[in-house]
Symmetry: C3
Subunit: 364 residues, 3 copies
């Protein structure tokens, strides 16, 4: 459960709103006459927020949950406010055209109190190469390994057990959680968030048939490219991004990858593209900007996807997509017995079509 701030740490509601306005959001109390200005100790859902917490309505389908909400304040759009029955609520209403974005910022701010409490400095058990360049204000957790030639930018923090391979680069204000691994020659931009178990720059999967040995044997193609990542990237737990064979694997600015995603060697992912968990992208595929790839989708290698392509969950993309839009290819599930009956016919589709055409001819 989210931790509440102590009352003396908690901002007053008007302070939160001022901060949001400063951050570029347009928000204000629905009622401007003098009224209580509660200290906000935390953030909760409509169903769970208590009288020292702020909540939000970002989805009109949840409007019913406003009834009985015990929060101190609720963020909503002016349209949602119009639908509120007067006297049906005790919380203060905050009007904002982007309640979901405001929720995102509030969550960040409340989480900052925890983040500020984290250890800083370079832990004495961290092993830092003599030629590594570590900027001021960098935090390096226990048992980290920073190899030779690494550069780490100002304000970046590494949790315990991170390994940064020779010659790799981390930008400014990055956050590496425990146990992130960068191989050699991997470059990460500013403000990256890398989660535990993620691996950057492992060898791409490249082998040449090697008839010098026995039939079927493979010769390894050493992967001598690197990985180059832009700014504002977030990468989930146990996700892997392989190094390029000869060039770099490229991850654009603002790319967000969930857990357990695999990005093959030589791929290029465009700015602000987001992928949900368990997606696999085979080598050398180029994905445009602002794409979304839903969970467990799989992209074959050597493809090109345009900007603004949206791939549904569980879909296998096996050819280029040159037009923005949504693409789907998932087999509909059913009760097992029903599925069996229909699946048995799948293998006869070509034949069924031929039979249909024959009848069409005969009955014309």
């Amino acid at each position: 459960m989210p931790v509440l701030l102590a009352p003396e740490q908690a901002p007053a509601l008007h302070e939160l709103l001022a901060q949001a306005n400063t951050a570029g959001l347009d928000c204000q109390p629905a009622v401007t006459r003098t009224q209580p200005d509660p200290r906000i100790q935390g953030l909760g859902s409509l169903a769970s927020a208590g009288p020292t917490e702020i909540s939000f309505l970002s989805n009109t389908k949840l409007h019913d949950q406003l009834r009985g909400c015990k929060a101190a304040a609720v963020i909503m759009t002016p349209d949602a406010y119009q639908l509120l029955a007067p006297g049906s609520y005790a919380y203060q209403v905050v009007l904002c055209s982007e309640p979901y974005l405001m929720y995102a910022l509030l969550a960040q701010w409340f989480d900052q109190h925890r983040v500020k409490g984290l250890a800083t400095g370079i832990h004495p058990t961290a092993i830092v190469g003599a030629t590594a360049q570590v900027a001021e204000g960098v935090s390096i957790g226990p048992y980290c390994i920073i190899e030779e030639g690494v550069r780490i930018g100002r304000g970046t923090r590494l949790g315990p057990h991170c390994v940064i391979g020779a010659g790799s680069v981390l930008g400014q204000d990055c956050l590496l959680h425990a146990r992130v691994t960068l191989y050699h020659n991997v470059a990460v931009g500013d403000r990256a968030i890398l989660h535990s178990g993620s691996v950057f720059g492992a060898d791409g999967f490249g082998f040449a048939p090697d008839p010098r040995k026995e039939p079927g044997a493979w010769a390894k193609i050493a992967q001598i490219g690197g990985v180059l990542m832009g700014d504002d990237v977030e990468i989930g737990a146990n996700t892997t991004i392989d190094r390029g064979a000869l060039e770099n694997t490229l991850i654009g600015n603002g790319v967000k990858l969930d857990n357990q995603i695999m990005i093959g060697h030589n791929c290029q992912i465009g700015d602000h593209t987001a992928m949900a968990a368990c997606v696999g992208v085979a080598g050398s595929t180029v994905i445009g900007r602002r794409c979304t790839i839903a969970g467990a989708a799989m992209l074959s290698g050597h493809l090109v996807l345009a900007d603004d392509v949206h791939v549904s969950g569980g879909t296998a993309i096996t050819s280029n997509i040159s037009k923005a839009g949504r693409y789907t290819g998932v087999y509909p599930y059913a009760e097992h017995i029903q599925w069996q009956k229909n699946a048995a016919v799948l293998g006869q589709l070509a034949q069924l079509r031929r039979r249909l055409m024959a009848i069409e001819k005969n009955t014309q």
Copy 2:
């Protein structure tokens, strides 16, 4: 290959049976008159067990393998025993109505000899926060990090390189293999078994569109919920369970997750539900009790699945399931050329149905 106990460590057969009876299994020798009481040094399959090992028949399809079995003793049901030709075997028969369960217990007991040999105590290289509460009898391996405010229950053992984030809790008698990572505010019940590379409490995948930046940009929604896990849970290698956005991700008692599974934020998994490897469950999905999800199945987000739902391997579940039963949705494979012919027709199914309806009209 399984290691055999030294003869002097090995229990006699009657001792094993007594232990099983004490554990609640009903088992006894098929022949009660005086006969040899061999020491049992290990456990093997019908095909591989040698004359100092015990084996078992849990699947009637394997009855043929009893012929030629060299084990000292074989566990089987009374029904299976009826089918044995007299004089066709040299092993001793142990009758038990649940041979598979008895095998499970025997395997645990033989493995205990290895487990008991593991190092105990807190390794001097482990870094334990001043405010962490570590009960008596806890073992913490080399290079572990136990952050501030952590609580670890009696008898729990951590392999090397585990990281337990601030404020997290481990119950009693848990076993964490090498390199398990808990973020902050993750609670694990008693008797959990957590495998290497598993990550608990990484950030859920939550972003709000952020028009303050450029089109397509995302603002991070800090994930301020936690993870709350029941008792008797086992979690496989490299599996990830994300922390909740506002509330906790919930894992019930007795839940068993295989390797490389992904559980999204805010999910709730009911008691005794088991999932095979490579399953992905998107955020906020609620799964009932005693469900089984076979390998590589994928569940969309915000779904509700009833108790006792069984999902076949490779199936994508994209809508609620309110009725117990088995559900399947996997595309049948075929030789590639055959698949090509049929797949080409798939995109014309709606059209084919229309044509069929037209003929039906004409031929009525």
Copy 3:
């Protein structure tokens, strides 16, 4: 981007060719009269290689890229050389019947300069059990754990944070990148390359229903087998290979597994079989030699696949395959609206077939 060797380290072209001939490749300059013998500082693609680099043409579709190639030398087949317009190029041509294999070897040689610079010896922070046998010339990185009874062969190198469980064995000349985990009793052959986050010998997923507890509860089947791997194996980042229940999980010689692959307990993978990323193989499945399994394919448990079987990406194999060949079972994707229309008919296929048969009867 690949790092170039310093000019004084770089071999002359004739030296590279001599080395390739020694390694068993047949290659020579296309023009044998006296000409410059440039020092080759690196290896690049046709599009990116500069005037101190060598490139290669392994795919005739890329023949157009030869125009404008700035490399010092280009490897190609005699057939490709025939198609070159005289005077259209400034690079030297190297003729080789296997340009792709020659590229693989060159990449290995250039990468060796980096590998030779890695730290050697046993780092003082590595913890090596008193009964472990570590051969001469073994390198063990910082914070590694080598438990009791481990044996490590000559020339093997371990990156930081590797954990080698009790009684496990590593052959000669293996390379373990950072953060590889072997449980106890795992045996790896010679020349293995194991990538970060891979886990060998975690417990297979085995549970017996346990009516002694509440309905639906499971009893753990302790996994007392091991993992046995042949020579020349490469295993990708975050891949997991589980230990056998009673016997060993077996990985043949020359097997190549990409990232995030899951191999269940008791599986047997034949020599030289290669699997692309995100493949899952359920327990006890036996795969032949020289098979290729493309990305995200899934194999059910207890299957047998013949030698030389090729499974397409995203395909679910749910029954035995006794004949070599290519097998596919992926649902074709389409624009979402188109997919919806066709998917809706999928659930009626059995019914449609019946209706078609009825018409066929009526119109005969």
